[in-house]
């Protein structure tokens, strides 16, 4: 039973990454109509920025500030990409957006591979602040039925909070209302005096920032390496196909659910753990081609 709970936890953690990444993809897709193939690369950049912040002799900024700084830095990088390249694709077949971002992913990952090789760089679990008997997020606690490493529990809860926060921002605030309106009819929203191009840039920054945040969260669990996003992003694409990207909540729920399904498979039938999400995708497509929460078209 211990192993089952452990796998469930791993599943929930992977689910957090799936949810954060597919959420960012959904946000970007909503505004730019682009499937951001570079999403895995910016996820990796998030982890690397955190690594630099920690290991640069002049900065040596730890985990907590990195959690805020890394998404902002990578988000600004994303906004530059949007301003200099992606905006020129507006109005074209959206396949071109996919191809452009694929090229960007090759460039980013290639550059990092050249400088850091393919092996992983370690990132320690933060040991501050010390509260009670706990040193930051190190160590773990005994829940009776299982041993819970604190950091892993933190990842699940924190990403859940971020996901719900993003959902609230888009579905329940005025800014989100503008955003959704601009997705439906940009010309009309512009007529109200809202700067839609700037909003698109900020949205891309937000989506990229979410990916970077996932990268920082994953740095202490998975090693920081240039190709850490490459295989992950394909699974996230499958998650997106399954969820249908129709709603923000849909991406969050599907992301976590598929992580758990993957965890359960790892326990009951490990051979299929790499493929179960894809098999699930096939099954969903056969029954409901639009995905679980997807709209038609």
């Amino acid at each position: 039973m211990q192993a089952l709970y452990a796998q469930l936890l791993v599943g929930l953690i992977n689910g957090s990454f799936y949810a954060l990444l597919s959420l960012g993809l959904a946000v970007i897709f909503g505004m730019l109509n682009i499937i951001n193939f570079a999403h895995g690369a910016v996820y990796m950049m998030g982890a690397f920025v955190a690594y630099f912040l920690l290991n640069n002799a002049y900065l040596s900024i730890g985990y907590w500030p990195a959690l805020i700084i890394a998404p902002i830095v990578v988000g600004i990088f994303g906004m530059i990409l949007e301003r200099t390249m992606l905006q020129w694709l507006a109005g074209l077949d959206h396949l071109y957006g996919l191809l452009l971002t694929f090229g960007l992913a090759l460039i980013i990952q290639g550059v990092f591979q050249n400088y850091f090789g393919s092996s992983g760089l370690p990132y320690a679990i933060p040991d501050y602040p010390t509260i009670g008997g706990f040193h930051g997020l190190q160590g773990g606690m005994n829940l009776g039925f299982m041993f819970l490493p604190i950091y892993r529990g933190w990842v699940v809860i924190f990403s859940l909070v971020v996901c719900i926060g993003t959902w609230y921002l888009i579905e329940r605030t005025r800014l989100g209302a503008y955003l959704r309106a601009a997705t439906e009819n940009p010309t009309l929203v512009r007529a109200f005096g809202i700067n839609v191009p700037r909003m698109i840039t900020l949205t891309y920054g937000l989506g990229v920032g979410l990916a970077a945040l996932a990268g920082v969260l994953s740095a202490p669990i998975n090693q920081v390496r240039p190709l850490m996003g490459e295989n992950l992003i394909i699974v996230v694409f499958a998650v997106v196909v399954i969820g249908g990207m129709g709603s923000i909540m849909g991406s969050i729920v599907t992301g976590f659910a598929l992580g758990v399904i993957e965890g359960l498979t790892k326990y009951f039938y490990p051979e299929a753990s790499n493929t179960v999400v894809f098999v699930f995708m096939v099954l969903v497509l056969l029954v409901k081609p639009t995905g679980l929460t997807g709209r038609a078209a």
Partner: protein
């Protein structure tokens, strides 16, 4: 309505003649390669990829379906052919048939799933399916995992032609390429091809005209996958191995890149694109990992400034269809 149709699907009167002249020039040039002293291995490899890119282009250029998993056909056909030749010791022609047949079967199965969504969703589904297959091939014993199937015997085609002789092998690969190319050429200039183009331009209208567009797309997908499989089978004879690199996502990306550089939806673009990219890999090998970065830059440059590709630009300049 008529004006719009004329604008979107422009068919110049001399199109067919231009294309046939270009085809004869291409076939002629390729036929004299062994006499010129050019390294035949390079050209053979490029021909395999050219066929692969042409098959891919049939789907994107004429059906509007971007497959991001075409490497799965290349890899599957390669593994089956290599396994058949090495373990079952079948003659080459049976090996090619087995590999191509396996790719066709895979195309039928994956097509039935992938064709249910369009556009970027289609791209993501094909990508996910090829990744699924990649993990399967990593685990199944017959592919030998990371090692791949090495040292595949080439044998005698029809019991006569010794494929270990590089000149004979060259002409066999060339024949395979020209066969596949002509099949594609015939397809896009047939009524079937016209319907496919109509589906690409405006699917709802094609449906309202009474065409079962799903079937047309599926058929195009199967044809494309089968010919990509033929390329994979031929490649085994050239490289004498089948390995995981042929099933990887990176390979699918390369196929897209070749077609994009040459020109999406042009008849000869994928061939030119394949030669450009393979030559680039050959001559830039010294740069190591930087090749990936260079390829990424080409991707970005093509999408931002050069969307018609090499052949597309030439055809546009001369107002011809190529």
């Amino acid at each position: 309505m008529t004006a719009m149709t004329d604008d979107t699907i422009r068919v110049p009167p001399r199109a067919m003649r231009d294309e046939i002249i270009a085809f004869c020039a291409m076939a002629g040039l390729l036929a004299i390669v062994p006499l010129t002293g050019i390294y035949p291995f390079f050209v053979m490899q490029a021909l395999c990829f050219a066929l692969l890119a042409c098959a891919f282009n049939l789907l994107i250029g004429y059906g509007g379906l971007l497959s991001f998993g075409h490497a799965m056909f290349l890899g599957t056909a390669g593994y089956v052919t290599a396994h058949a030749l090495k373990v079952w010791a079948v003659p080459p022609e049976i090996g090619i048939l087995a590999g191509t047949g396996a790719a066709a079967a895979l195309a039928v199965i994956t097509g039935l799933v992938a064709i249910r969504r369009q556009g970027i969703y289609f791209a993501m589904i094909t990508l996910a399916l090829s990744q699924l297959l990649f993990f399967v091939y990593v685990q199944t014993p017959f592919t030998h995992g990371e090692d791949g199937i090495q040292g595949v015997p080439q044998g005698y085609l029809f019991g006569i032609f010794n494929l270990a002789n590089s000149t004979i092998l060259y002409y066999v690969v060339l024949a395979g390429f020209l066969f596949g190319f002509l099949v594609i050429f015939r397809t896009i200039n047939s009524p079937f091809g016209e319907v496919l183009k109509a589906v690409r331009e405006n699917e709802p209208r094609a449906i309202s005209l009474g065409y079962k567009t799903e079937q047309y797309k599926l058929l195009a997908y199967i044809l494309s996958g089968t010919l990509a499989g033929l390329a994979g089978s031929l490649k085994v004879f050239v490289a004498q191995n089948a390995s995981l690199t042929d099933v990887e996502v990176a390979m699918s990306g390369q196929i897209v890149l070749m077609t994009l550089v040459g020109g999406l939806g042009t008849v000869f673009g994928p061939v030119v694109g394949a030669f450009v990219i393979i030559a680039m890999q050959q001559y830039l090998a010294g740069f190591g990992q930087w090749v990936t970065v260079i390829q990424g830059c080409i991707f970005v440059a093509c999408v931002l400034t050069f969307r018609r590709g090499v052949i597309g630009e030439i055809a546009h300049y001369f107002r011809r269809s190529l």
